[in-house]
């Protein structure tokens, strides 16, 4: 197994994860692109030792199957990156910032859980029913 390629894959994953953890959407896209490169490299490692290009009839060719996987993976990663870029472009155009804000719904859940307001709403409803029954 080729140590150089394995280590390079590790480096690309490290950089990719670091970028994906950022707040800026475009950096997240960059990070995913980096992870895509890492994935293709991993397939290359699976390809084994280098050989002559796989054209028939030939001997000692490089394993063609991981290559076919890698080829489609490259195109998919590209298409995926385009979609995310469109998302980033849209977000920037509408909000004027290239950042992922905290999810407001989650923030509300957090606040509600801290304040126990969910309980109060429920108690109120229960009171209403028992009032109905006591008529």
């Amino acid at each position: 197994m080729n140590v150089t390629l394995v280590v390079l894959t590790g480096v690309l994953v490290a950089v990719g994860v670091f970028l994906v953890l950022q707040r800026e959407l475009t950096r997240i896209v960059l990070g995913l692109g980096m992870l895509g490169h890492a994935g293709v490299l991993a397939l290359l490692v699976a390809d084994g030792s280098p050989g002559t290009p796989p054209f028939a009839p030939a001997r000692d060719v490089a394993d063609p199957l991981p290559q076919a996987f890698a080829l489609t993976a490259i195109v998919i990663t590209f298409a995926f990156a385009l979609l995310l870029l469109a998302l980033a472009a849209r977000s920037f155009r509408i909000h004027g910032v290239d950042e992922v804000e905290d999810d407001p719904e989650d923030a509300r859940t957090l606040a509600a859980a801290r304040a126990n307001t969910a309980d109060e709403a429920d108690t109120e409803a229960a009171d209403l029913i028992s009032e109905l029954r006591e008529r």
Binding site: A14, A38, V61
Partner: protein, 893 residues
């Protein structure tokens, strides 16, 4: 039965689809399906045979819809049909003030289907499905006026109580099915297994039945369910759904009545519910609440009668079941009419209605008297039969029931007094106008049936006896209006006299009764619900922090670290390692690593994008070293197009990223390092499992003879794994369309026409056609030489990009739009696949044809070439879609 169930559901769906403005009277369309149910069941009366219908569903799991149409099913179906007809008739008049009346009636139709299913289900899973379906329909109906918070709360409570009961029922039924080895209820009851497992199962089944039929301690949901519009209360919460538990008990009691787990639960609870329900009813002021507690009490009585499993009692119990359904439905409709005409159901505000609405009073009197068991009405005949048999078989329980009958009279008199009497201290209630026929007649018909069946019980005797014998083959007894002088008659008459005498003083009864509450599970229910809510809130608060980086970090690390830990625990067998295959490889890898790290560190947006491209280019070079020319070409072309995309998006944004807090970045870097290390370990671990033979060797052998291509990678893509490629191309197509949809409408295309860049434009006249020619060659030759649809498509796309760069305001590909191109490409690929299927019997099977052309000589044309052309079209479309998406932004600036 199958046809009825499906027909009811279908007509419910149709009715629900009717336009709203048709109003309440459109509800009368539902009379047709209910008439069908009535006719179907009516035609089976007297037919003592049993038929089984089966509707295969998930047969291998024992999950079939099996209906066993016996006497009890026919009896219940007839009740559903008749009460349903009356209720629908009533609804057409009553619902004129209710929002979405047709939707309400539509759900009632679906409910009726579910109820038929419960009545006739033989398979335990069938029973469970329909049982829960009635709960769901009840939820929708109780919560029909969902603008009101108490309607929502009541609906939820009813659903949770009956739904949880349904789960207990399922568990019980499955245990019983396990004990007998059969999912047929008929078989389970016939075998009547015993043992500890069966005891547990019976208690669980009873939890389901008791919760559905609103028995202590589950009774609290039923009065709450009175938030439903009155037709719903009349249909579900008096006549049908709440009787599901009784039906179930009726089916099981003959087999398990002697079982201690059964007897020690069902009879005491039934008796307690009977007594307490009646007492609470004596203190209610809302007429509907009074009736609801009356129903709870009557259901308790039915539980006792059926639960004993005494053969002699069954006929009386079945008759009482019917009498109560007819009478109670009528009473609910009477209350509905009072509410509709006066705007109140509070007996403290009603006075003199007996004089202003005499017809309604007579109907209410007859219906109430029948429910209370007063001669000469059907309820009397039924109760008399039951009491006579019970006093004989179980005297203690019998006298308890007699006492219960007296209590029934007390609250029945209270009801009639409260609704119709002239109360000196209350102003006579004004009645706007006389109620219309649909508000009175349906209740009148049901009350009239009570009179007719009371005077001539022979009319229903066959129906009742067949129903009783369906569960208790040795059921004996007859229905008589005149039972003959004897203890039972004296007991009944005594109960009636005592009940009426006490009931005539409703206010004193009310004062005398302490403010008892039924022992109720509601507090436990509320505590459980609040506890769950608090736990859920706590869980959400401690995990849902709202921060995307946090979520992504957790996902990334757990998806990498968890398998790594497992791998290390099992021991990594380090594979044979080589440092590198060549010096070039080391140099290229080093460059890539440096570029990657720089990409992470730089604060300039464009630099970061270009560094990412540099990493990609170096990866492409690694492919060259590896001996993978197709990959290298693809990678380099993709990087070129990507850079353009990034530039188009990023130039609208600030040059630099805002600085992030240092500790945060350190943590993120640490997460990255852990992830990278995990991947290295995982790859080493995976490598230790390497098979000695490369996976593709077989394909190398097969490529030329089978796929007719020398480029093995290409044959894999378009032939051996063509289906895979079709899927991946589809993903690319969706991404392209998605990108266009996301950016559509962001800016209006006010075309700012600029002159094309002169030098580039001129160069393009030469370069673009050459690129397209090379692209065409790569496409056609790709099966044998480096190339193929993906690569050719990317190159053609690059040609379009060049044109765009020279003249950004012009449409990048002339009149060729990305959407038609993508659609045509996918269509071509699918067509090739379907043709292969048609000709060769396999989707995407390949073939070729050869012919001779004058100049080119012998030509072989492979079907996969057209597949590859499809790929080509989609990829070109993808690039054009990218330009179209981001070009709009160009125009706006």
């Amino acid at each position: 039965m199958r046809a009825l169930v499906l027909g009811l559901i279908g007509s419910g769906v149709l009715l629900g689809a009717l336009p709203r403005r048709l109003g309440a009277r459109a509800a009368w369309a539902a009379l047709v399906p209910f008439a069908a149910v009535t006719v179907w069941a009516g035609a089976r009366v007297g037919d003592s045979g049993v038929s089984v219908e089966r509707l295969s569903w998930v047969h291998d799991l024992g999950l079939d819809l099996v209906f066993r149409i016996d006497g009890l099913a026919v009896f219940a179906s007839l009740l559903i049909g008749v009460v349903g007809l009356a209720v629908i008739w009533f609804s057409g008049g009553y619902l004129d003030h209710t929002s979405r009346p047709t939707a309400l009636v539509a759900v009632m139709l679906v409910f009726a289907a579910a109820m038929l299913g419960v009545a006739a289900a033989d398979n335990v899973l069938t029973l469970f499905v329909f049982w829960e379906l009635t709960s769901v329909c009840s939820f929708l109906l109780v919560g029909h006026e969902h603008e009101r918070s108490y309607a929502r709360a009541s609906a939820r409570q009813a659903l949770l109580v009956t739904g949880l009961g349904g789960l207990a029922l399922l568990a019980g039924l499955l245990l019983l099915a396990d004990a007998t080895g059969s999912t047929s209820i008929h078989t389970i009851v016939n075998q009547a297994p015993t043992g500890a497992q069966v005891s547990v199962a019976l208690v669980l089944v009873l939890v389901g039945a008791l919760s559905k039929s609103a028995q202590v301690p589950f009774q609290f949901w039923l009065p709450g369910a009175m938030a439903a519009p009155t037709p719903v209360s009349a249909f579900l919460h008096s006549a049908t759904m709440v009787k599901a538990g009784v039906l179930l008990v009726a089916r099981f009691a003959p087999a398990f009545g002697d079982h201690s787990a059964w007897r020690s639960v069902v009879v005491p609870i039934g008796a307690l519910t009977m007594a307490m329900g009646a007492l609470v009813a004596c203190r209610r002021h809302d007429l509907k609440q009074l009736l609801a507690y009356g129903t709870v009490s009557q259901l308790g009585l039915l539980m006792v009668l059926f639960g004993l499993g005494e053969p002699t009692v069954t006929i009386g119990a079945v008759a009482l079941f019917g009498a109560h359904a007819l009478g109670k439905a009528a009473l609910f409709m009477v209350v509905g009419t009072i509410d509709h005409q006066t705007g109140t159901r509070d007996l403290r505000r009603l006075s003199g209605l007996g004089r202003t609405m005499p017809g309604l009073f007579v109907i209410a009197l007859l219906a109430a008297a029948s429910v209370a068991g007063v001669p000469p009405l059907f309820g009397f005949v039924a109760k008399e039969a039951a009491i006579a048999a019970l006093l004989d078989a179980q005297p203690l329980v019998g006298w308890l029931v007699v006492a219960g009958a007296a209590l029934t009279l007390v609250y029945t008199v209270r009801f009639l007094w409260g609704a119709f009497a002239r109360k000196p201290e209350v102003e006579p209630t004004p009645v706007a106008h006389r109620p219309g026929v649909p508000l009175v007649a349906p209740a009148g018909v049901l009350a009239g049936l009570g009179v007719v069946f009371g005077i001539v019980p022979g009319l229903v005797e066959t129906l009742v006896r067949d129903a009783a014998r369906a569960v208790e083959p040795v059921a004996t007894g007859t229905l008589h209006l005149w039972p003959g002088l004897g203890v039972p008659l004296f007991a009944s008459v005594g109960a009636i006299v005592v009940g009426v005498v006490i009931g005539m003083r409703p206010l004193r009864v009310e004062r005398f009764l302490p403010a008892w509450r039924l022992p109720s599970g509601e507090a436990a229910f509320a505590a459980t619900q609040n506890g769950l809510r608090r736990a859920a809130g706590w869980t959400a608060a401690s995990t849902q922090r709202g921060s995307l980086p946090w979520y992504v970090g957790v996902i990334a690390l757990s998806s990498l670290v968890v398998p790594t830990v497992v791998l290390v625990e099992r021991g990594v067998e380090v594979p044979e390692l080589t440092v590198a295959s060549s010096v070039a490889q080391v140099l290229i890898a080093l460059t890539a690593a440096v570029c990657a790290v720089a990409c992470a560190i730089t604060r300039r947006r464009l630099s970061a994008a270009i560094l990412l491209g540099a990493v990609g280019a170096n990866v492409g070079l690694l492919f060259v070293v590896q001996g993978a020319p197709d990959l290298a070409l693809t990678q380099l072309f993709v990087e070129a197009v990507s850079i353009v995309a990034f530039v188009l998006v990023l130039r609208a944004q600030p040059v630099r990223y805002a600085p992030a807090r240092r500790p945060l970045q350190v943590r993120r870097a640490l997460a990255g390092l852990v992830a990278g290390a995990a991947v290295v370990l995982l790859m080493l671990g995976a490598g230790s499992d390497a098979r000695p033979v490369p996976a593709g060797d077989e394909l190398v052998e097969r490529a030329l003879p089978e796929a007719g291509g020398r480029n093995i990678v290409n044959t894999i893509i378009v032939d051996f794994r063509g289906f895979d490629t079709l899927g991946e191309t589809t993903v690319a197509a969706i991404a392209a369309l998605g990108a266009m949809a996301l950016t559509a409408g962001l800016t209006r295309a006010g075309h700012v026409r600029r002159r094309p860049a002169p030098l580039l434009d001129t160069a393009n006249r030469l370069v673009v056609p050459s690129m397209l020619a090379v692209s065409l060659y790569l496409l056609l030759a790709g099966h044998n030489r480096p190339g193929g649809g993906f690569i050719a498509g990317l190159l053609a796309g690059l040609a379009v990009v060049l044109r765009f760069v020279a003249d950004p305001a012009a449409p990048p590909a002339g009149r060729v739009g990305p959407r038609p191109l993508i659609a045509a490409g996918l269509a071509l690929m699918v067509t090739v696949g379907v043709l292969g299927w048609w000709i060769d019997g396999d989707f995407l099977a390949s073939g070729y044809t050869s012919f001779t052309l004058p100049v080119f000589g012998a030509v072989k044309v492979f079907s996969v070439l057209f597949f590859d052309i499809g790929v080509f079209a989609v990829v070109v479309g993808l690039v054009i879609a990218m330009l179209e998406s981001f070009r709009l932004r160009e125009v706006a600036q």
